[in-house]
């Protein structure tokens, strides 16, 4: 059984007011897969994620969700950004509870469930703390716990660990992999970190920045997890990714 949604973009493009046009075209994402989007900053990765989340509407083309065209608010997706995922005026527990309020729980039940979720990620004692009093890693753990509490069929992550130190990032990656395994959700993640992409992904989608959004290459990473960063295969793949990004940078910067 797979809870994860399949996601297909068809002829997708987004025209921005400033003149930038992000032209993705077609892209298919399998149910319960782990896809990483990689590309230079500004190439359109966040735009694609926002469209998948239903937060932005494409200018042309459409999005198929389990084979069905969707418009308007995207059902069953949870989105995590690089930072500021938690509302700074709410405590940790309130930040989770607000998501549960809209899933049929009353205030008291939502608070109790939120406290339990915090305890599950080992942050019970920080329930009444505001985000400013927590570390970046704690905030991202809370954001992940909240996202999973929504039981999403699609988990969208926009550079979720980029602001964390290397050690915290490693631990968060493990936690994400576990969450992906147990939830069965489809994961679409943006990262700048080549190692992170190689450690986590089934597929790495390389996005060009000239023109914006074009899918340049797709790498299938058919290796068992946990993976060793220093394995010959990953080092080889890392070189290919690096070569792609260098080429992209050459084009963009007119080297």
């Amino acid at each position: 059984m797979s809870r994860g949604a399949t996601l297909s973009f068809r002829g997708l493009s987004k025209q921005f007011e400033g003149g930038t046009r992000v032209e993705v075209g077609d892209l298919d994402i399998k149910a319960a897969s782990f896809t990483v989007l990689l590309g230079r900053s500004g190439c359109g990765k966040s735009t694609l994620l926002n469209i998948a989340a239903g937060l932005q509407q494409p200018s042309t083309g459409h999005l198929l969700y389990d084979g069905q065209a969707v418009s308007g608010n995207q059902p069953d997706s949870a989105l995590i950004f690089q930072q500021n995922n938690l509302f700074p005026w709410m405590s940790a527990v309130e930040n989770i509870a607000i998501a549960l309020l809209n899933r049929g729980l009353d205030r008291e039940a939502a608070t109790r469930r939120a406290e339990q979720l915090l305890a599950d990620v080992g942050l019970a004692e920080f329930a009444r703390h505001r985000p400013a009093a927590l570390s970046g890693g704690m905030c991202q753990r809370i954001a992940l716990a909240r996202a999973l509490a929504l039981e999403p069929r699609l988990l969208l992550l926009d550079e979720p660990f980029s602001a964390l130190d290397a050690q915290t990032r490693r631990l968060m990656q493990d936690q994400l992999l576990r969450a992906w395994n147990t939830s069965g959700a489809t994961v679409l993640m943006v990262t700048h970190d080549l190692q992170e992409a190689l450690l986590l992904a089934d597929r790495i989608v390389l996005m060009a920045s000239t023109p914006h959004g074009r899918i340049a290459q797709i790498l299938e990473i058919d290796l068992p997890r946990p993976r060793q960063v220093r394995s010959a295969q990953l080092l080889d793949l890392q070189e290919r990714l690096d070569a792609f990004l260098t080429h992209e940078t050459r084009l963009a910067e007119h080297f």
Binding site: N50, L79, N84, N85, F87, W89, M90, N102, R146
Partner: protein, 277 residues
């Protein structure tokens, strides 16, 4: 090694102490500045540099302020300092509250309905810079003379600037918070009550303090225009009777109360929006 750990763990305390010391130091300087001015004033009058009849010295005005004799009018029109102050404070609060609530309403409407934003904001932008004093003749013509007129002048003084600052604060909310709220399936009402309003609370509190300054000035302008109660009336009457100590007491009361209210609002704001500091 141990020492490094110790130093690190002591840092927060070391940072905390100067904040209280700083506040204490500021207060001392504040008191010193006033003590110097009052002392210099007293000295200038005693030595004949200043005319004590035009600018009564502190040794006259301070006892006078607390003597219970600081009164204008007779019979029904009689009004003491404290009474005048309370009347004026009530008018300011009324106008400030009404002006802020209507401003909030306008800000919500112009955020929700783009067409109304296009129609309402240009009007507000043009009307906001008009000085409260300029509204007085208009107010007298429309509402007449009386307590409501002073409240209305305050209302007008607050409405424009408050609307503009609230709209600006709403526009400045990080769109990511709104995206997160939508992703969490918050309803429109929840987005207002639990995201937008808390997000703008700190800057709204600052705007309210600014608005209070405007309101505090506006109410006196309103009261000087033919109303027979309040601090503004008291000062005008005292001037007409050439009661210079009373003019002085009135002016000082305006300053001191304005300062105290502003500090109270600052403290209240920090209380309510502690997350932002």
């Amino acid at each position: 090694m141990n020492q490094a750990v110790l130093t690190l763990s002591r840092q927060p305390d070391a940072r905390r102490a100067p904040r209280y010391l700083g506040a204490l130091r500021d207060t001392l300087w504040f008191l010193l500045a006033w003590a110097l001015l009052i002392g210099a004033w007293e000295l200038a009058v005693q030595s004949g540099w200043l005319d004590g009849r035009v600018l009564p010295p502190p040794s006259v005005t301070l006892p006078y302020a607390f003597s219970g004799e600081a009164v204008v009018g007779f019979g029904q029109q009689r009004s003491g300092l404290l009474e005048a102050l309370l009347v004026t404070l009530l008018r300011v609060s009324g106008g400030l509250l009404a002006g802020s609530l209507v401003a909030l309403l306008l800000a919500v409407i112009t955020t929700e309905v783009k067409l109304l934003r296009r129609l309402i904001l240009p009007l507000v932008q043009t009307l906001a810079p008009i000085s409260p004093v300029a509204w007085v003749p208009f107010t007298i013509a429309v509402i007449g003379i009386g307590g409501q007129a002073a409240v209305f002048v305050v209302f007008l003084a607050v409405l424009g600037t408050m609307t503009l600052s609230l709209v600006a604060a709403l526009d400045a909310i990080d769109p990511q918070y709104l995206n997160i709220a939508r992703n969490l399936r918050c309803t429109r009402q929840q987005i207002w009550l639990r995201v937008r309003l808390p997000a703008i609370a700190p800057s709204a509190m600052t705007s309210l303090r600014m608005a209070f300054f405007g309101a505090w000035m506006a109410v006196l302008a309103g009261e000087m225009a033919g109303i027979n109660s309040g601090l503004g009336y008291m000062i005008i009457m005292a001037q007409q009777m050439y009661n210079m100590p009373l003019v002085m007491v009135g002016v000082m009361t305006i300053g001191v109360v304005g300062f105290v209210v502003d500090r109270l609002m600052l403290l209240l704001g920090r209380r309510l929006t502690g997350w932002a500091s």
